[in-house]
Amino acid sequence: MARARLIASTSFRMVLLYVVVFAVGAAVVLITVGWEVEKIIDQQIAATVNAEIKGLSEQYAQGGLQGLYSTLEKRAHQPGSSLYLLTDPAGQVLAGNIAALPPRLLDTPGAVETRYRRPGEITAHNVALARIFSLPGGFHLLVGRDMADREALRAIFARSFLVSLAALGTLGLVGGMILARRVLRRIDAMSASAAEIMAGNLDQRLPQAGSHDEFDRLAQNLNAMLDRINRLMAEMREVTDNIAHDLKTPLTRLRNRAEQALAHPAAGDSHEAALEQVIVESDRLLSVFNALLQIARVESGTGADVLVPCDASEAVEACAELYQPMIEETGGTLDVETAPGLQVKGSRELLGQAISNLIINASNYGAAPQGAPPHIRVVCARQDKDIVIRVSDEGPGIAPADLERVKQRYVRLETSRSTPGSGMGLALVEAVARLHGGSLELANTCPGLAATLRLPALVMAEPAPQATP
């Protein structure tokens, strides 16, 4: 089982592949060297044969056929690898140390490599390099040299090739196994940790060997990912706890009302009133739920694809215009001051909702004393590289300690408990600001509160024709 896993591992297969590649390389080297050496040997043999021929041709020139014959007789019986053969026109051997040749070989003069049989041997297994001459009168002369040395060399090369192949194979196999086992050990350790994490031990982390190699880097990244997941899980738990709290309370209230209405089957009027209250209560519940979902969605950044170049000035104006009559109706004022054509990369809808939340906040809490008509100012202007949208009122402001806290979800200050609201308004504004790469700043202006939405201005290819009128 363990062996099968080892063999199936990637590192083992890689090593095997390398063994094959190296074996091919070794073969190429050995064959090239062998071939070159053979060539040199062949040249030397040819040179020796030529020297011999030169000597014999001198003998022939001085002593004719007879002289040649006696020299051959003499040389043929000396030990060595030189070969000679002289035949008459009928093909009969006159002198020499060769017993047999392939038939009709002597008919064609020139250099030749051939098999031959020595006297006293049975088979023609020797190889010779030879030159054949035709002499006047139909005589033939062969002068050559035995090639046993070259054959021996070939055998040496073949043997060393096989030996090195075997050595390479063994080394590769063993090396591959060792390497694969080392890698497998690291991977197994990681797998074991991963399995433990999956089993529910979310605080477990992948082991690192401290060698800063690719396995450590992988473990590091996976651990960072696990940290992020852990954080998300914690946030999720917090949100679900909050939802449970925020939805269960009104749901209980809803249920109580319905129960009460059932228990008192008195007049139809009170039933109707109870039903109306139930609808109001469920609408409120739904709006809290919607706000929660929307914040979650905006915060997770999934809405980022709705960010397109859009006219912040127009969004602000449309929004202010929407609320203006309502505020004027209560005796308050809403002044709008926007520089035209300020562009941001954003979502008109989300910006509108953020501004609307700020205006509603200002109208609900931005009057002093509370309940008096509010005076609200909405400004949209450019500040350096930012577009600034500011909604300010003349109310009591917020205690400095609460300025940051009030942006969190569900946070409602004591002073606002009596007014309707979900505690989601500013949380959504801040989420929208962050989605746009901007921020929400709250500041007391004494008197009043200024909520500033700061968004990066859209960088355009060409500068805007005019920044301010």
Binding site: V306, M326, S356
Partner: protein, 230 residues
């Protein structure tokens, strides 16, 4: 409003039954289907005036269903109902071939008003002409002026868009959200009665000193400009 033939494709049987019953009560004919495939077959073969399609359906999801119908050149107006109410969801729904998009939860009166507007859109209307008429009201879209029985009424730009939308749908109920969507191009819940204040200002300009009010409030639903021609 003549009776409409409607198809409700909604997997929650209780919701579907509620919608069918409510549509019948106001005099329309409504069928229902509980999954995407049945809905597709009915929508393709039946002759409906408006289709009401839930976005998340078993067997074939709402957006694919709409895509399939539009590919078959079935141009019946479609209103998408969805629990997903974010901007990008709405854009996706309309891009898939829907004509209107209503996020859950919704009131039946809102749904009814929107379906009736969709139905009307299907009929060739003289809405493209430069002048809109409804009873004694005449809106000149070129000179952007409104007059009632010859008396000229001065309008703010936003008021002009309000009355234009109302008169385009004269005789039909227009809800507050429809006004917010078409006049301000915002889809969020403004949380207060902002639209009512705009309407009451507009009403003061139109109906002040007149015996017959043109701009009516439809209780629990929205507003309507009386179509005097009928």
């Amino acid at each position: 409003m003549p009776a409409m033939r409607l198809l409700v494709i909604e997997d929650d049987r209780e919701t579907a039954a509620f919608l069918v019953k409510s549509f019948r009560e106001v005099g329309h004919v409504a069928d229902s289907a509980f999954n995407g495939l049945d809905g597709y077959a009915l929508a393709r073969d039946g002759d409906y005036d408006v289709l009401i399609i839930d976005r998340m359906l078993p067997k074939l999801d709402g957006l694919s269903l709409i895509g399939g119908l539009r590919e078959q050149k079935i141009e019946t107006p479609i209103l998408i109902l969805s629990a997903l109410g974010q901007v990008d969801d709405r854009v996706k729904g309309l891009r898939a071939g829907g004509d209107d998009y209503l996020a859950k939860p919704y009131s039946f009166s809102e749904l009814l008003a929107r379906v009736e507007v969709l139905m009307r859109r299907r009929q060739p209307a003289g809405g493209d002409s430069t002048a809109l008429r409804a009873g004694p009201l005449v809106l000149d879209r070129m000179s952007r002026t409104l007059s009632r029985s010859g008396r000229e009424i001065a309008l703010q730009p936003r008021e002009f868009r309000l009355i234009e939308y109302l008169m385009k749908h004269a005789g039909q109920v227009v809800t507050r959200t429809m006004l917010l969507e078409h006049v301000w191009d915002y889809h969020f819940d403004p949380q207060t009665n902002v639209i009512d204040v705009h309407i009451s200002r507009l009403r003061a300009k139109i109906d002040k000193g007149e015996d017959e009010p043109c701009l009516q409030t439809v209780r629990g639903a929205g507003y309507m400009i009386r179509d005097g021609a009928r």
